[in-house]
Assembly symmetry: C2
Homo-oligomer: 457 residues x 2
């Protein structure tokens, strides 16, 4: 008998902070916990070495005619600081009411164990279950998955044997409503540096003579949006995928309240893409955002300087079918074209990620060549959610980015079914992270039913 | 016999860094050096206590009918760091060729001693010289003269007994050309803070929903200048004093070279106020400059945040007859009027200073009620410079600010004759500060002749 709560407590106790080199023991403990657990369920476990933290690759083979699900998760967690803000010890799992508190409870140890528990239950009920299952559990998700692309290339052929990816690393809007996430924004990030004079200058002796690079940067940045809120870069929206009526309708069903959202943000007016509500804008439209700016004197008091340099850190969130490199080129071309005289530009590339979208079956825009197993998986998930939660899931794109989902699609062709399990109040990446044990229990039953349905054929 | 070089060496050795509380001994030493020196020349010396460093107030009285000159200087110096960039020890005066190196050599110990040496020579030649002389030597100039306003109020009546102020704390363009500075820009400084959401937000989850405060700040700042280079604030230029043809003519005589200036700055085009050359713009026109900007993430790599706050540090250089408070109000009103929806503004006041101008006699715009002694002082200075340097001085306004000159004028009504003695290569406020001993020698002779002429009546 698989006691998922006791297993989760054990999992949380391993201090698996991937970015903290003093926590090697915690990383090793969490990796071995996952490996041993899957091994005990009959999986053939391979611990794949990487430059940093190994990937657990565990297979339950079977007949080639059986459906094959690839379940993704990660065993690493965010750092726990600031520790003084935790009400219970970060790595000592503590149950209060129906929630378990501890670093990684929701991201991703609870949701991953939900899926493992469902598989354990299924295999206990039917050791001959006609379903191929592969677990892919990485240890670098919280560092941006640096080893993942290389792994993807090396294991592409093995991964292509699966029919689709299943994962629980997205959110539920509330404990009563499941969302099957079917889109994620991509992104492209870069810095722009503006240089004026070759050194900082005295603003008395030289003020009124030359263009201040902060002024030039402000003039450039001010051109990048229209007053109404569109990104003002030629071609920026060219490749943006049409929003289908069913997508707006799903979002409407979510019933999100603009007034409550404005209060949560602490703003008195929204600035969405024209023609979209704030909720639609964040999920269906691309952005150009200034994540940081700096230049000249920033300390207390004053320094009457005309600085030599200023910079801004820019990022675009992208929607299907935008391409990160193409969008970056368009923005840079616009910046170059709008740069006033007297200053020079340089650009620094940062990272990027493709947007992702999958369309559930039977929608107006479902691809005709959608994999039959993927379609069955969606239908099985819909049925299981409806039975367990008492209402059907919503199919929504999210504003955030999980670049590995698009990477998997690009390299292997596999789409993902994303079954969200953590809640807004679960404090991901923050002190007092928690996971709702009622949601976990329902999640296990949902995944169990879905996979059983899929195996039944 | 007054050995000005030996005296200057002694003066430099006192580490009189007013902002450095560990250098009290150096401050005391420099103050006592000045007090004892003036005392030995027959001055009645008063050491006026302030909240920080005392002011040396030394008087040579005489008949009320004698002209009365108030000579200003300061005995404190800038910090000397970074020490590793000095080629000779900062507080061990070292003569190389015709230059003496050491912190404070040019700012203001050399020029102050030039004036003291001239007075010493005069009084040695004629102990009965019919000239009243008051020295006012402060110890907080390099900290922004915080005790000076209070002193001015307390000593206003005594100061009003003088006819004009004489000082050497401005620049020469080259060793062969004297400038009598007859104007300084004022300034007003403040910070603007822009707030959007009540906390930093995830740019994936919330991007496309609200206005980023960095974007709002850029949009505001971009409106503050026209493409041609005018400050785009209604009323900004209303009080700007007309530039007289003789002022442009004096500047033309300076023969400054735009190409060499662009090379010095490292820029490929200027951005002066329309209708003015770069040199005219810096001396005759006001500015609005962004001295610093900050907001969001500024570190290595990326952080996909929509920041809650952004700020800019602004300053205006002002020309006669602009008023700092009025200009600040105009700029703030323009900023408020141009602030887009969805963000809030706050302002933080910084310091300010009035602009200053004095017109030499016999110009088209010389005030009819100009003090006869001031007019005679200018004529005497012109004659002495022409004799000693072999060419007449130029009369120029400068782009920098020395707020105490305007403060003295406002409180006492006294104008200033500013006889510049340091050179561009003297590295003020920087490592390897120096003072040209040939200039010092000529300066002593010039000041001696000027004061003798003034006493002669």
């Amino acid at each position: 008998m698989f006691d998922h709560v006791e297993k989760l407590k054990e999992f949380i106790r391993h201090r698996s902070i991937s970015t903290d080199s003093t926590q090697r023991e915690g990383m090793k403990g969490a990796q071995e916990f996952v490996s041993n657990l899957l091994s005990s369920l009959g999986f053939k476990v391979e611990v794949v070495a990487t430059d940093r933290h190994p990937i657990v690759f565990a297979q339950r083979g079977g007949d080639k005619s059986w459906p094959h699900v690839l379940i993704y998760g990660h065993y690493d967690v965010q750092p726990a600081d600031p520790l003084e803000l935790w009400k219970t010890p970060a790595f000592e799992p503590t149950i209060i009411g129906n929630r378990i508190f501890g670093r990684g409870a929701a991201d991703n140890k609870g949701p991953l164990l939900t899926n493992i528990a469902a598989v354990a239950k299924l295999l206990e009920e039917n050791p001959q279950l006609p379903l191929r299952i592969t677990f892919l559990v990485e240890g670098e998700e919280e560092m941006g998955s640096p080893s993942f692309p290389k792994f993807l290339e090396r294991y592409a052929d093995k991964l292509r044997e699966a029919d689709f990816v299943f994962l629980s690393d997205t959110a539920l809007p509330n404990p009563d409503q499941v969302v099957l996430t079917c889109g994620l924004r991509g992104l492209t990030l870069f810095d722009v540096h503006v240089t004026g004079a070759k050194g900082d200058l005295h603003s008395g002796l030289h003020g009124g003579v030359l263009r201040n690079p902060i002024q030039a940067l402000a003039e450039i940045l001010a051109t990048l949006h229209t007053p109404e809120g569109k990104v003002n870069v030629p071609g920026f929206y060219d490749d943006v995928r049409e929003v289908h009526p069913w997508e707006r309708e799903e979002l409407r069903k979510l019933g999100a309240d603009e007034k409550a959202y404005a209060e949560f943000l602490g703003i008195d007016s929204f600035y969405p893409t024209p023609g979209f509500s704030p909720f639609e804008s964040a999920r269906f439209q691309p952005t150009l955002e200034i994540n940081g700016i700096g230049g000249g004197y920033q300390g207390e008091g004053t320094k009457t300087v005309i600085p030599s340099k200023a910079f801004a850190k820019l990022s675009c969130r992208l929607v299907p079918n935008q391409q990160p490199d193409r969008v970056k080129e368009l923005v840079i071309a616009a910046i170059r074209a709008r740069t006033p005289s007297g200053v020079k530009l340089t650009f620094v590339d940062q990272h990027k990620g493709d947007p992702y979208a999958v369309v559930p079956p039977d929608r107006s825009n479902t691809p005709r060549d959608q994999s039959p197993v993927l379609a069955r998986a969606f239908r099985a998930a819909d049925k299981a959610v409806t039975e367990v939660w008492g209402r059907p899931p919503l199919y929504l794109r999210e504003g955030g980015s999980v670049p590995i989902i698009a990477d998997i699609k690009r390299v292997t062709g596999l789409d993902s079914v994303m079954f969200g399990l953590f809640l807004p109040e679960d404090n991901l990446h923050a002190p007092n992270e928690s996971f709702n044990l009622d949601v976990m229990k329902k999640g296990i039953e949902t995944t169990r039913r879905m996979l059983a349905d899929l195996a039944r054929r």
